[in-house]
């Protein structure tokens, strides 16, 4: 029972985190691509309760900031007027859940802007970019993992169930896939594509590339599970009663692979979110200025950013609970699978 409880716990945690990302437009105070050119590399806004005169306010408030004279990234607060944090106020237009046109935002302030995670080189709000970027990256990760597993399941089931020459051909093909130098192939792929790839095309491209590259490993795992399930007594019995191949696969064999697949999914999704970053580097990712987690992380590649602006790390830190959620889910799934006494030998290669 306890494994079941931890499983539910992880699932709820992930659900809450994803819910925040889905409602990005509402939770994020600003448009993620809007540039505030007066405040590049602005540190996170400081929220105060006590003002410059020592008065305590009930509502937290922020001061507006301005650049120090003759400086590029040093700011000072203008303490003449406090701007209280307001909730449920109107701001930039967005579409809730992708279709509902909406202007209401969860929080914000009048007369100044609140940057919870600071701003980047163009003065764009990092917090809004994180939430909107999550929509792109997590969906790409989920769909990419889905595609990978679907391909892996088909190939693995055919190879494992039918065996013989089909098994040899498919598995040698999978090994070839594992051995290919992907980086160079992707570079070549980029050269074949049209010059400008729009954000939507890029999004599907990412999913296709991720799914196309990653299927070989899960296919081998599924094949192993199918191979052993095929020789189980209840499967043999069903075959003896005259069950067709399709029925056997659907009813008895593929269900056996479900826990392997779920565990794989939980491991692959965070991997693929990070893969998107590599793809961005190759010019196959989500093009700027559209936000994605890969784009957020790539600004950290610069030495000057690393040593000068600590808040640029924050998005990376907030990504950790997401990945932790998936890994926690994976390990509780794995425990559950062991509890059901499914072949643990085939899971050995997961770690």
């Amino acid at each position: 029972m306890s494994t079941r409880r931890t499983f539910v716990k992880w699932l709820v945690a992930l659900g809450v985190l994803h819910g925040m990302v889905v409602c990005a437009g509402f939770l994020a105070p600003y448009n993620p691509v809007e540039q505030d050119r007066k405040s590049p590399y602005l540190p996170p806004t400081r929220l105060h309760l006590a003002d410059a005169n020592g008065h305590i306010h009930v509502r937290p408030f922020a001061y507006s900031v301005r650049l120090r004279v003759r400086s590029f990234d040093q700011y000072e607060e203008d303490t003449t007027e406090p701007h209280p944090v307001k909730f449920f106020l109107n701001g930039a237009r967005y579409r809730l859940l992708g279709f509902l046109p909406c202007r209401m935002h969860f929080f914000g302030a009048e007369g100044t802007r609140i940057y919870l995670l600071g701003t980047d080189a163009y003065g764009r709000d990092q917090f809004s970019r994180f939430l909107f970027g999550g929509q792109v990256s997590l969906l790409a990760g989920l769909l990419g993992a889905g595609l990978t597993l679907l391909l892996g399941l088909c190939v693995g089931a055919v190879a494992g169930y039918y065996g013989g020459w089909r098994d040899s051909v498919l598995m040698r093909f999978a090994e070839l896939f594992l051995a290919l130098p992907w980086l160079y192939l992707l570079l070549a792929l980029r050269a074949f594509l049209p010059l400008a790839v729009g954000p939507l095309e890029a999004f599907f491209l990412i999913i296709a590339v991720i799914g196309g590259v990653g299927w070989a490993r899960p296919a081998r795992l599924v094949r192993g599970v199918v191979l052993s399930a095929r020789e189980r007594d209840f499967v043999r019995a069903a075959r003896g009663f005259g069950a067709s191949n399709g029925y056997l696969l659907r009813r008895h064999i593929l269900p056996e692979t479900s826990s392997v697949l779920l565990t794989q999914a939980a491991i692959l999704i965070p991997q693929y979110v990070l893969a998107e970053m590599t793809l961005s580097f190759l010019g196959l990712g989500v093009p700027e200025p559209a936000p994605s987690w890969g784009n957020l992380l790539s600004s950290l590649q610069q030495y000057s950013v690393l040593v000068s602006y600590w808040w640029m790390y924050l998005p990376a830190l907030i990504m950790v609970p997401f990945f932790l959620g998936y890994l926690g889910l994976a390990s509780s799934l794995q425990e559950r699978a062991e509890a059901y006494k499914i072949e643990t030998s085939s899971l050995g290669s997961l770690t």
């Binding site: 590029f72 579409r95 046109p101 080189a121 163009y122 010059l195 010019g283 030495y303 000057s304 040593v307």
Partner: protein, 542 residues
């Protein structure tokens, strides 16, 4: 001293890229040299020069007793041989184009062992500047390979130190593949300081090959290198904030100009209808003027260069004080002006459901195009992102496409399959003449429509005429007047929309003496023979 990568060769006849030239510049010397600080010419290997009254003949007298770094003496035959090499079509020296004046190569004649006459076909405004950067080569080492037709193969980095010689302050000592190139003091160097001490002061100059700018900063911070140049503004900022025993210097705006240009090539057979439709916008002067009016140059200087740069409205960067046209208008950013211009050119706007407006051309099609930028240049990528946002406010949908720099150049100059591109060019001399291949419609760097047989537009023809005219004008005032006019024609037609020009940023350990970075290439090594290390510092040779 870090170098961005390995130099490709030590042979001045085939060196084309900046870092190779930087190494060659310290190993070789020229007849007449441009002082990087004053931007004026001064005698080098030639003690003096005389110009004939018609401006066609230059008589140069060599200094006495000059020896190559292997001890062989220099005489007029070496000079003759050198120019034969540069002018030989089979050698493909990149300097050859510069030595063709008025359509004919320069003729070189020997008068006696120390006097050489250069005969030009047409008078040339600043003939003596031609000699800058033309390394005089050792005939005793190169004549045999030349006759065997192997000139292109020699001078690789692996050349044995005693098989290579030059007239510069340093000579080859050791090369470790992938790591470093070590040069040692040339004992036969001809310059000496005011007190009669032979230059250079430093015994050894080591170039470390560090491919990445951030790694160069780390090497400099850790004290592995003594000097650092060609710094980006961000890294300059990091270094100047954590100053520890080194000095960071901002030499002011350099001669690099960054600009965006549209594809104005004549449509060929392979041009798609879509490209033809786009080119119809790009050919419209008012469209280009509108783009220029919409660019927030002040934001580029502030956000890309952290204020260490200058906004740019013309090809001549503000660092070039003698030649910039001060009367050139510097209009502030104005979206209203941009919208008026677009309206006059027949563009209109449609409003989307979410309040965003889209620019439509006269055929009702939305204006969408992409801008190429080099993926290895973070500064230009940033400019592209700012430009994208600026143009979005006019309703243009712009995509930024980062490309590896070689395939970018290939697209712009060969396949001509692009919409617009952001690029930067660094003039290597303050004088306008080295930039002629940008100006002339027949030039290879006339990027928006390179290497034309005949000028495609009347204004390109006018620029061609003005540039030819200023080349043969005799006085500075005449040339400046004509050149100013050419700058105005360029600014009216905006084939290149100029953005900004970065400062030259460099740094050196406090122990390095005579460190005076200049805005001309080679920024910190131009006075390499005068650099010295103050006593009492460890690791004195680095």
């Amino acid at each position: 001293m870090s170098l961005r990568g390995e130099p490709k060769t030590l042979n001045p006849l085939i060196a084309a890229d900046t870092r190779t030239r930087e190494v060659i510049a310290v190993m070789h010397a020229d007849l007449v040299h441009i002082n990087r600080a004053t931007q004026l010419t001064e005698p080098a290997l030639a003690r003096s020069w005389k110009i004939s009254p018609d401006g066609l003949a230059y008589t140069l007298v060599l200094r006495q007793g000059i020896k190559f770094s292997d001890g062989q003496p220099l005489d007029a035959d070496d000079v003759l041989f050198t120019f034969r090499m540069y002018l030989d079509e089979n050698v493909h020296a990149p300097q050859r184009d510069l030595l063709i004046v008025g359509g004919k190569p320069i003729v070189v004649r020997k008068v006696d062992a120390r006097t050489v006459v250069f005969q030009l076909a047409k008078s040339y405004g600043v003939g003596e500047r031609l000699f800058d950067g033309l390394a005089i080569l050792p005939r005793h080492l190169l004549e045999k390979p030349y006759q065997e037709g192997k000139l292109g193969q020699i001078g690789s980095l692996a050349t044995a130190a005693d098989q290579w010689a030059g007239l510069g302050p340093f000579r080859l000592k050791e090369y470790v593949s992938g790591q470093r190139l070590v040069l040692e003091r040339n004992p036969y160097y001809w310059k000496s300081d005011a007190k009669g001490n032979r230059l250079p002061y430093v015994d050894e100059l080591v170039f470390l090959f560090v491919p990445n700018a951030d790694a160069q900063v780390l090497k400099f911070q850790s004290g592995e290198t003594d000097m650092i140049s060609q710094l980006g503004a961000e890294n300059f900022y990091v270094l100047s904030r954590q100053q520890r025993g080194y000095t960071m210097l901002d030499a002011g705006p350099g001669l690099e100009y960054n600009f965006v240009f549209f594809n104005l090539n004549d449509p060929g057979e392979k041009t798609t209808p879509e490209m033809q439709r786009k080119q119809k916008w790009f050919r419209e002067v008012k469209f280009r003027q509108a783009v220029s009016a919409a660019v927030d140059r002040e934001a580029i200087v502030r956000l890309v260069y952290q204020g260490r740069g200058a906004a740019l409205w013309g090809l001549v960067a503000p660092g070039n004080r003698r030649w910039a046209n001060e009367k050139l208008a510097h209009p502030a950013r104005s979206l209203e002006l941009a919208r008026t211009l677009l309206k006059e050119a027949g563009f209109s706007w449609s409003n989307g459901p979410q309040g965003e407006s889209t620019l439509l051309d006269s055929g009702g099609k939305p204006v969408e195009f992409s801008i190429l930028t080099s993926s290895s240049n973070a500064d230009r990528a940033k400019m592209a992102a700012l430009l994208q946002d600026d143009l979005k406010q006019l309703g243009m949908r712009v995509q930024v496409v980062p490309l590896e720099s070689r395939s970018l150049l290939d697209r712009v100059t060969q396949s001509k399959d692009y919409d617009a591109c952001i690029m930067g060019i660094a003039s290597y001399d303050a004088d306008p003449n080295p930039d002629i291949s940008v100006w002339l419609s027949s030039g290879g760097l006339h990027l928006w429509n390179p290497s034309q047989a005949h000028p495609a537009t009347p204004w390109e023809a006018e620029i061609d005429r003005l540039i030819e005219e200023q080349m043969s004008a005799r006085t500075f005032e005449q040339r400046k007047k004509i050149y100013d006019r050419a700058q105005e024609v360029l600014a009216e037609n905006q084939p290149m929309i100029f953005l900004a020009s970065p400062d030259i940023l460099a740094g050196a350990k406090n122990s390095v003496g005579n460190f005076h970075p200049a805005v001309l290439e080679p920024y910190v090594l131009w006075n390499v023979e005068q650099l010295y290390l103050k006593m009492g510092t460890e690791n004195a040779t680095r």
